[in-house]
Amino acid sequence: MRPLSFVERVEAADRLPSTKGKTMTQYLLSVHGPSEVWDTPLEEAQPKYEATGRFNDQLKTTDAWVFVGGLERPETATTVDATGNDVIVTDGPYAETKEYLGGFWVIEAPDLDAALKIASEASKACGGKVEVRPFAGE
């Protein structure tokens, strides 16, 4: 996980071809949807749940897996603001939008191509578009 410092890279550059190991990056694979998605009848959602369950089980056997979770509907959100003198707790999400984060995976991959491959399988399994975002390095 540790990025190479410039010095190490300069040294590595002088020893070609490089044999240094692959640095891994964490990626967020997120799925979004309008709040009506949470009203989908169970019979309709069942096949997607099952496909996603199979995908998760498979992913958990690989080194790529870090975390997975599906969120409760956005109406269950609370926003906490402790940046001022008083703590303000408000019912509801941070911002009202048309679509909300529905759930996500955190994976670890050597590069974007590997992350996109996993995202493609995730998208097939859950039946939604998947947004892929890298986490900032340590």
Binding site: R9, L112, D113
Partner: protein
């Protein structure tokens, strides 16, 4: 004076020729496109300082790569001293030497796949390819695509930032993916060519700097992937189109294939294009993969350029090739081009029925084709309206001039 400006031009030519190779090599070594580009620019400054007195070295590309590499190392040492905490995200993910690698190991090939990565916006792919592989300046690319230089600079900066932050690999894709990914690379090169061949905007009907650059990129790719039929097909297609470039315009007006002065065609480009098409045909005949769209389009252009007189064109072969092309890529635009060929074989009435069935209203070439068919059928009033629609839909001055002339020559029975 002349001598020094000649030398400057020669250095500029070498620099542009070698730029992609220098940047690609440094990007692999240092894992950072900005470092690679900055070092290449510093190497140019050194060349401009030394070559006038020392002379141009025997291997200028190697000299530039070595010099740029040294500059990059100097810079990294300086920065690591100045800021010991500085840590750069690695863009490069090296294949280990034992891993089965892509078709050819070449840094420029890695670079082109990075520049044309599907996770980058299409316009960013074009800009990055021209900048990093083609060595065009940001200003030149901005001018070619008629956008402000700051907009283009931002587009390139943003794309490079994404490559770094999202860790887009610097690698030739594995064999399973190479065909898909190669498609994106070829699309970028063909887009650059087409933007030059029939500009969608601006005062120049043809922008030779873009057609020439696309062909140069096509030749590089052909050199890197000599076994890929579609790479040969795209290069042949561009060469056979480029060969007719000067004959396509006369007095600021577009000249269609049937009216072109064929003695103005570039015979050496045609010969080169034909040789590539023959090579593709031989490869297909030997049972390897079925030809893709670029090879078929090249074959169509080979048939067109095979005769010295438009009337000798083998239209049945052209229609057959369009059938094949439509099977590979069933788009209404290909159906439209096929209909134009059908008109020569089966008559304008048959072609018009096909054209009318296509949902391409608002597309200038659809209106132009329809206008021409109506004209040939003697339906002048309808043809006139259709020429008007075509003129309204095109932004190319030479095409407007051609359409206006055709429209003016309509025989109008009502007058």
């Amino acid at each position: 004076m002349t001598q020094s400006s000649d030398l400057r031009a020669e250095i500029d030519r070498i620099y542009r020729e070698e730029y992609g190779r220098v940047v690609a090599s440094l990007a692999r070594r240092f894992g950072d496109l900005d470092i690679a580009e900055d070092a290449a620019a510093e190497a140019l400054l050194t060349a401009l300082e030394r070559w006038p007195t020392d002379g141009i070295p025997p291997n200028p590309g190697g000299w530039l790569t070595t010099t740029a590499g040294n500059r990059a190392i100097d810079r990294l040492r300086r920065e690591s001293l100045r800021d010991t905490k500085h840590q750069a995200a690695m863009m490069i993910t090296h294949d280990t030497p034992h891993e089965p690698t892509g078709p050819v190991e070449d840094d420029r090939l890695r670079l082109v796949f990075t520049c044309c990565h599907p996770a980058l916006a299409p316009e960013a792919r074009v800009a990055l390819t021209l900048r990093l592989l083609g060595g065009l300046t940001v200003e030149e690319i901005a001018r070619a695509f008629l956008v402000a230089e700051t907009t283009m600079a931002q587009r390139i900066t943003r794309a490079k930032a994404k490559i770094k932050a999202a860790h887009i690999p610097y690698r030739v894709p594995e064999r399973d993916d190479v065909t898909d990914r190669l498609g994106a690379v070829l699309a970028v090169i063909y887009l650059v060519f087409n933007e030059g061949y029939l500009s969608s905007a601006g005062d120049d009907p043809v922008r030779t700097e873009l057609t020439a650059e696309a062909i140069r990129l096509g030749r590089i790719l052909r050199q890197l992937l000599p076994e890929e039929g579609e790479v040969a097909g795209l290069l042949a297609l561009m060469l056979l189109s480029e060969a007719r470039r000067t004959a396509r315009f006369a007095g600021g007006e577009l000249v269609t294939l049937d009216e072109q002065d064929r003695s103005g065609w570039d015979r050496s480009l045609i010969a080169e294009g034909h040789a590539l098409v023959r090579e593709c045909l031989a490869r297909v005949a030997s049972g390897s993969a079925a030809p893709g769209a670029y090879q078929i389009m090249a074959a169509i252009n080979a048939v067109h350029t095979d005769t010295h007189d438009h009337r000798d064109t083998d239209w049945s072969q052209i229609v057959a090739l369009y059938d094949q092309l439509y099977a590979v890529s069933p788009t209404p635009i290909i159906a439209l081009n096929r209909a134009v060929a059908v008109a020569e074989l089966d008559g304008p009435d048959v072609a018009l029925a096909i054209v009318d069935s296509l949902d391409l209203g608002g597309y200038h070439a659809w209106h132009a084709a329809r206008a021409d068919l109506l004209r040939r059928l003697g339906r002048s009033a309808e043809a006139r309206a259709e020429y008007d629609a075509a003129i309204a839909a095109t932004q190319n001055a030479a095409e407007t001039a051609y359409l206006s002339r055709r429209r003016a020559h309509l025989v109008d029975p009502s007058i």
